[in-house]
Symmetry: C2
Subunit: 381 residues, 2 copies
């Protein structure tokens, strides 16, 4: 289902991350294009990335399609020189009968080589940790000069390219930690004795995770759709004989777990979906994952089934707090109708994504205020 060869625009941040890892492992050349500035209404926001190879392949889309040609050309310059480049594209929709890009925005794109400045980023993501890159995009430092800042404030400088001047790193470090922790970005101009340096700070979070508990075939559509929209997916089956990766080819991992041990695979980034179709298994699994920080615990089945499970757990002395109950989604899913397995999967995966993004899943036309997230800090001073 998730075939990024057929459609590079369907690639997610997780696909981009994995391609970067494989390029670093193989030592093959690659380039990364990142949106580092937007004025007006653009298709993707700052931080959106695309990976390119010298053969002209690309993974990910940073616009609706209008800029990928020019960005491939920019990448050609990067492959030739080994140096980062930056370009501003003005997509203001003043030529309605022309190319008609219609993005109504001005977009700055940084294109840079896949070099060792990415290693601490990939290492952090692999360890499930957030990180921020701080990159010079203008002023009195070489374009692309970089530092990588972890959430504990520690900093790594690259060897393959110029590091960011220490004074700039020190001035921006606290804000970079904040960007890493919140997955947001900022652009800042820092004044030092050596001059002014404008940096783009890009908070990068690990991909969201989904743990699907259930070995029945209806686990398949849920796990493949979740993977398709950017979750790293683990399928957990309660019964050893079912833990066959070939049955869930879209899953990143298929494990066999006792329901009471589900908590070991869950953290504050994990959406959990309980669909074992076995009431006792779901009951044990629910009690286990609600002890973790999982922000979303979807439970398949009607409301009455959940009430039965609660009563049975209460009889065993297990009572849930309001905070725990608030994380339980049952009946699971957004209210989109349609009873086919893929439609049920759509409903579940949409709800999990909404909850992880702090959204409510209703219609955007009925939402007040901006449709992009509140988590984004847009500052340019």
């Amino acid at each position: 289902m998730h075939d990024t060869t057929a459609d590079p625009w369907s690639a997610t941040a997780l696909d981009v991350q994995r391609r970067l890892s494989s390029l670093r492992e193989s030592g093959e050349p690659g380039a990364v294009a990142t949106v580092v500035g937007v004025e007006g209404s653009a298709y993707r926001r700052p931080g959106a990335k695309m990976v390119l190879t010298p053969e002209g392949d690309h993974l990910g889309g940073i616009t609706a399609g209008c800029l990928e040609g020019p960005v491939v050309d920019l990448a050609g310059r990067v492959f030739e020189s080994g140096e980062p480049v930056i370009e501003t594209f003005d997509l203001m929709d003043d030529d309605e009968w022309g190319l008609g890009l219609g993005c109504n925005g001005v977009i700055d794109v940084l294109v840079e080589p896949v070099d060792d400045s990415w290693d601490p980023v990939l290492a952090a993501l692999d360890a499930g940790e957030s990180v921020a890159t701080v990159t010079a995009v203008d002023g009195d430092a070489p374009l692309g000069a970089r530092a990588v800042v972890r959430t504990d404030g520690s900093v790594t400088a690259p060897s393959d390219r110029t590091g960011l001047p220490d004074a700039v790193v020190e001035a921006i470090r606290d804000e970079a930690v904040d960007c890493a922790e919140t997955g947001t970005w900022i652009a800042r101009t820092v004044t030092t004795d050596e001059g002014d340096v404008t940096v783009f700070v890009d908070g990068v979070e690990p991909a969201p995770e989904m743990l699907v508990f259930g070995g029945q075939p209806d686990t398949g559509p849920v796990s493949s759709l979740a993977r398709h929209v950017g979750f790293a997916v683990t399928v957990a089956t309660a019964r050893g004989g079912h833990a066959d990766p070939e049955r869930f080819p879209a899953a990143d991992e298929v494990v066999s777990l006792r329901p009471a041990d589900l908590d070991e695979h869950v953290d504050e980034r994990t959406a959990v979906v309980l669909m074992s179709h076995n009431k006792l298994d779901d009951e044990l699994a629910l009690a286990s994952v609600l002890e973790t920080d999982a922000p979303y615990v979807g439970l398949m089945g009607p409301r009455e089934r959940f009430e039965q499970i609660r009563e049975e757990l209460a009889a065993d002395g297990v009572e849930f707090t309001d905070e725990q109950l608030a994380r339980v989604a049952t009946p699971v899913g957004l209210d989109v109708g349609g009873g086919e397995p893929v439609q049920i999967a759509l409903s579940i995966v949409s709800e999990a994504l909404a909850v992880l993004n702090g959204r409510g899943g209703g219609r955007l036309r009925d939402r007040e205020g901006a449709i992009h997230g509140e988590r984004e800090i847009i500052v340019d001073d």
Copy 2:
């Protein structure tokens, strides 16, 4: 993306319909399993179908996976005898440590050969029309005796199997027309001079359609996800040079259309998504499709862009009625967050499905009443 070979549970009603058509065209043997009765809470509702072949392949899932083995066995009996069979499965969850099917329901499954009784059904669906099958499932008529009733009340009897007695057809015809028109089902026992016959009336509607207007690459994730969840998808590009089917492999059709001619491809079953990224093209397209019965018209872009479009159309003397405005979804999509192209596609396709199903998005846990549709009439007398 939509690979039903890899995962038969991801097959939709549209896939089942197409497989039936190809079996009828090739003359190869096949069987159809249909849920014809449910007591309690089952995974799929009456009318859910699965197509099986003598090789043991199946497309579609009528349970979460617990019954497919037994249904494959039932189909074996059908291939041997050429006669329909029916079986009742009791999935009541009283054996929590056993197989643990957990469906908490009793489910009746009819398995019947793919014979000429399907031809009028497939012909109607191909013509974009609804239809109802009326099938004897108990009583004083051969099991599987059938009539097909169209929305104009005309009836076709099969040659390959026994037709339903005329008196039964007459008694049920009006209700069958109603089931066809609403895509619902009923079970009824009809008393005639020849005895009592219980029939299952199965209203079958053509698959929902999505018309995606836009030739940019971001059309790809939308069209492939829409196809994956059961829409028949047409991609319309305004610029002739882009109407290349290879660019949108998931689409059923790729056409090049002037935006003002979009109405020709739209009826009351079509969800329209306008994402040309060209304001004037979207404007002409919007004016065109709002003259049709399209129940959903999603318009990509911020609210202000729609206001500009309205003002420009008003200056040309085009004013929308409240009824027309109510069908416009802008900003398009459900509020799930995430700015990647596949996540935008998820948001759009979820909203289109919800609107076509008369749902509001939002979380099922916050919905009052039953989570299954109001359109379903459950009568068994």
